[in-house]
């Protein structure tokens, strides 16, 4: 194992009855990075996260965290890991501060230290004013921040964030992003899952794209965009003649029709589309920078997964 590999999976598999949720995957997570798992619903992201924090036993393969096997050293791994799950599992019977102090007790943190840590985390999550409020009175954004704060109670070196900003307004999302960046600067290794490509691009050093239980691609956000899409995308309103013209003009390009618009993906360098638009002005034609969403849809298709 390389010195900076924190988590290593080899042939990791998880089966539920006849359904293969995670299908023989290999991956590494390096110390101090922020690594994102992307994938449509049911791709196996959450199952993978749950195996990393030792609440789901793998069916086969090996999974180690700091060299410790998840099936043998669950307690040691959980001690150094913080988890912010997808669903709200805050304790509705307690106030905000008690949620943190009771959680600290589960980690054997002594009472005084727990209260001190909890107060710090409330400041960090900007929830000081809600200290003694019951959970049902918090907004969705506040709950997400409290779940993040709770995940930090044991000062974890590994932080697992399962869709940390789903359902939040833009202000709420940016606040969470800000917190995640701060934690990363402090050296915490972060693994997150998300459905938001802008989130993945903004936060992650490296991405693992999953589909149907397999890892189908990995790389930095910029690498993936460059490799699969190129630099720019041309979008034009759909009609038959336009389609023919584009095929002549960009014979190597991939053309895709999405809700009455033609998307043109090509590896041609920056500026190729500009001159096309100038030579053949079209209503509604735009040239935009290629992004992760283009990559994601190319790799996982446009079909709904429900």
């Amino acid at each position: 194992m390389a010195i900076d590999t924190l988590i290593e999976a080899r042939g990791l598999t998880k089966k539920y009855d006849d359904f293969l949720a995670v299908d023989n995957i290999d991956f590494e997570i390096y110390r101090g990075e922020c690594c994102g798992f992307l994938g449509p619903n049911g791709a196996g992201k959450t199952t993978t996260i749950k195996m990393i924090h030792c609440v789901l036993p793998p069916a086969s393969g090996s999974l180690t965290v700091v060299g410790l096997s998840v099936s043998e050293k669950a307690r040691e791994i959980k001690k150094m890991t913080g988890v912010a799950p997808q669903e709200d599992n805050l304790d509705p019977d307690f106030s905000v501060i008690t949620n943190l102090s009771v959680y600290a007790r589960y980690f054997d943190i002594p009472k005084n230290a727990a209260i001190k840590r909890a107060e710090e985390l409330l400041r960090f999550a900007q929830l000081e004013e809600k200290r003694d409020v019951v959970i049902s009175q918090l907004s969705t954004g506040m709950k997400r921040r409290l779940i993040l704060a709770r995940a930090l109670i044991n000062e974890p070196q590994i932080l697992l964030l399962d869709e940390p900003t789903t359902g939040l307004d833009p202000q709420g999302r940016h606040l969470i992003w800000d917190k995640i960046r701060t934690l990363k600067k402090q050296g915490v290794t972060i693994i997150l899952t998300t459905h938001y490509m802008d989130e993945a691009a903004a936060l992650c050093d490296r991405l693992l794209i999953m589909d149907n239980g397999k890892i189908i691609e990995e790389g930095t956000p910029a690498e993936l965009v460059k490799k699969h899409i190129g630099e720019e995308v041309l979008e034009v309103d759909f009609d038959e003649d336009e389609m023919k013209l584009l095929k002549d003009k960009f014979p190597l390009a991939r053309l895709e029709v999405v809700s009455d618009r033609i998307h043109v993906f090509t590896n041609e360098p920056h500026g190729a589309f500009e001159s096309y638009i100038r030579d053949f002005p079209r209503k509604g034609a735009i040239v935009r920078t290629a992004n992760l969403e283009d990559v994601f849809l190319k790799l996982t298709g446009r079909k709904l997964r429900e």
């Binding site: 539920y16 924090h53 609440v55 789901l56 036993p57 669950a74 307690r75 959980k78 001690k79 988890v83 799950p85 669903e87 709200d88 599992n89 805050l90 304790d91 509705p92 019977d93 307690f94 008690t98 009771v102 959680y103 007790r105 589960y106 980690f107 054997d108 044991n154």
Partner: protein
């Protein structure tokens, strides 16, 4: 896994540490937050039973009742009823809400506490609820002057152990429950008939005594409590003790394994 291994795994010994008490403590803290609701109704309920069944119905009962009067006869029954009810409802509805609706178990197992420890903590908490409620009932019964032996001081031990037994049985139902309405089955078809027919409110006829002792957990608890409350120590009480202890142990282990299988796929 063969069928035999699967059956054997239901009885494998859970690995438990001191962390069980952290789960217990979480429930205790919630209980103390709403202590008024938790102490007051359990104090009033036995008074209504004593008035209604003991004095009201008791005035019409002319037959020879062990203990001298119906009110005296049902007093240990009411203590036993609270032991059964507290543990049973805590580890069915209570645990189900924490497990399914509040996701409290999921939150706890993300910390160094294991699922086995969560369930064991729930069971011990159920037993503690039995201890608390039955002690309240015992005080009420004492205030009515219905206690005639210092052996009554042993009843809290019966309450905790009996409570643990009912917690284990209840948790087995929870492991089978697909939804919360499922608990209507054990509540109406197991708990209520046992309360009404198990020797709580009237002395069991000779022919029913043996089957009730063999099959009904409550009957064993009631007989033990009645003996202790009135100071009638009888060797037959050893049978009740010998019944309760192994059943408690078996259901403690069985329910932890069943819940683990349900929750960790």
């Amino acid at each position: 896994m063969t069928k035999r291994d699967s059956i054997r795994s239901n009885f494998s010994l859970p690995e438990l540490t001191y962390r069980v008490w952290k789960v217990w403590r979480r429930n205790f803290d919630v209980f103390m937050k709403t202590y008024k609701v938790n102490f007051f109704p359990p104090m009033l309920e036995p008074i209504f039973y004593l008035l209604g069944f003991g004095l009201g119905l008791g005035a019409f009962v002319s037959q020879n009742i062990p203990g001298g009067s119906l009110i005296k006869f049902i007093a240990p029954g009411l203590v036993s009823m609270s032991i059964m009810y507290s543990a049973f409802f805590e580890c069915t509805y209570g645990s189900f809400v924490r497990m399914y609706y509040q996701k409290t178990f999921d939150a706890i197992i993300a910390t160094p506490i294991s699922m086995e420890e969560v369930i064991a903590g729930e069971l011990l908490w159920g037993a503690t609820r039995s201890l608390i409620s039955s002690s309240i009932v015992l005080c009420v019964v004492a205030a009515f002057g219905l206690i005639s032996s210092p052996l009554v001081l042993l009843i809290p031990f019966v309450a905790f152990c009996g409570g643990l037994m009912f917690s284990g049985i209840a948790m087995c139902f929870t492991s089978l429950a697909p939804n919360i309405d499922f608990f209507n089955y054990p509540a109406f078809l197991f708990i209520t008939p046992m309360l009404l027919l198990g020797g709580t409110f009237f002395p069991l006829p000779q022919a029913a005594q043996l089957p009730a002792t063999v099959f009904l957990p409550l009957t064993n608890v009631v007989l033990l409590n009645r003996g202790l409350m009135f100071g009638n120590l009888d060797t037959s009480l050893l049978i009740n003790i010998a019944w309760i202890i192994p059943v408690t142990i078996v259901f403690f282990i069985l329910s932890i394994n069943a819940m683990k299988k349900k929750l960790i796929k």
